[in-house]
Symmetry: C2
Subunit: 284 residues, 2 copies
């Protein structure tokens, strides 16, 4: 059986081209590498290099061997990361979401389990979410649509509604509802990390301008001292402890102003995770 260290060294040689350079990166002496490559040839019973007096070059067999070596090393690295994730996932729950609202809903409903596990959540793009779910970096993700795949299960979770937030001086303050069209062209202050909502308001109000603020407290101060309209959602309002009485919230009446979120997880998820999902859903 071929030692894995030989494969590492072969792959390094393919990458760096010379023994010296490879030895540098591997933190090894270059005579050691020279010996290793000879040993590898001997063990495989095959010439892997063209040997010139002062130069060592992979021949076609060597290139083939190096490509296999790289694959094996990648497999080995994946094994380590997946094992580490597997044990981490016993005591930790990583949730990825395309919007903050569903996370605000989920975290309190896990209250009873907080002592047993650490929950971490993440807000990012759908592409990253799916990638992370595939690689077990997330155990579940929240998307604004189900996925049709044999590999994943999609469960409808919650529908979030968008509201306009204005102070009492704003012309729309007396409205019972509002539309995107009516507000298009105005300037908005908004939270920067709203996920899919961002693209939605941009698309629905193409003539509007949006001033985004990453920091929630700063945002709060700004909106308090500004006449610019802002946004809210039913979920956010529900969990927002300090409601500002000088702000009025008005629902958008457009049907696009509601987003239904779905919990996606692997069908191969273990029973513990599926139990948690049931708990989350039943807590709505």
């Amino acid at each position: 059986m071929i030692g894995i260290y030989l494969l590492e060294q072969l792959a390094a040689f393919q990458e760096y081209g010379t023994l010296s350079e490879s030895a540098e990166h591997l933190h090894l002496s270059q005579p050691s590498l020279s010996r290793s490559m000879q040993k590898l040839e001997k063990q495989l019973g095959v010439k892997l290099f063209e040997r010139h007096k002062n130069k060592l070059i992979l021949n076609d067999t060597g290139i083939l061997a190096a490509s296999y070596a790289s694959r094996i090393l990648a497999d080995e690295a994946e094994m380590e990361t997946q094992i580490a994730l597997h044990v981490r996932n016993k005591t930790a729950l990583s949730i990825g979401s395309c919007a903050p609202g569903p996370l605000m809903n989920i975290l309190p409903s896990l209250a009873g389990r907080c002592s047993e596990m650490t929950v971490s959540s993440d807000l990012t793009t759908e592409e990253e979410l799916l990638k992370g779910l595939y690689a077990n970096q997330y155990q579940m993700i929240i998307l604004n649509h189900p996925v049709s795949s044999e590999e994943y299960t999609s469960t409808e979770y919650v529908t979030e509604h968008l509201y306009l937030s204005v102070n009492r001086m704003h012309p729309a303050a007396s409205y019972h509802s509002i539309t995107f069209k009516e507000m298009d062209g105005q300037n908005f202050i908004m939270y920067a990390k709203v996920g899919v909502w961002d693209a939605l308001v941009q698309k629905k109000m193409p003539h509007a301008k949006f001033f985004r603020q990453e920091n929630l407290e700063a945002l709060s101060e700004i909106t308090d001292n500004s006449d610019l309209p802002s946004f809210a959602t039913d979920i956010a309002l529900h969990y927002q402890s300090d409601r500002h009485s000088n702000r009025i919230t008005i629902p958008f009446s457009d049907s696009d102003a509601s987003i239904t979120f779905y919990i996606i997880c692997k069908v191969s998820a273990d029973s513990r995770l599926k139990q948690i999902i049931r708990q989350i859903i039943s807590a709505v």
Copy 2:
């Protein structure tokens, strides 16, 4: 980096269930295995086993690790076999075929190269041929149809025609051509290793009986001393040195009595192989 020997031992433990049993198959002492598994856990920083006083069982993490280990070992084995095949394929040419005729055509046309390489040919089923081509056990195969795949190239090679072979006493001896229907129900002597021809004559003459002989010389003797009809093809007749004057060959006029063969090889084949194929085709 995890030593490959640890992965072997882990995979063995998964297969055999106990350290003692595994040690047996690995030709190792069982204390050595015990130490190895502890070391593996330490290196991964993870518990892989449930440890009872007298029993060692893989936990879920261990099962995951073992499955990765098996994959890595399989990759490693594939690397060795593919490298061995790669060097062998520099000086050897392995051809697989679904019928003997095309091989009879090919081998002489490689005459000029016989000194540089050893040619080996094989007659088997389409399934085995495709499997062997995929695994680089054959560099090219001969099928009775092209394959539609991005991975393979199919080149029309030669069409072989089936003949009836009878002695002068046979009722059909004076015919200029014959059909399957006319011969259906009779008893035939035939060579056992005719590949796809076998299924063809069975299908076209469902009421006929076939006596197959594996040995060519024995077949020759039998046909010489028998009144039973037999088969021939244009290619076989062309390369058959000792034509028996007491036998008459009559072409089957059915369109199914001709088979067109195709040379299949990987698109990733090297230029040397493609050159050989050009040579083979131009020699028809």
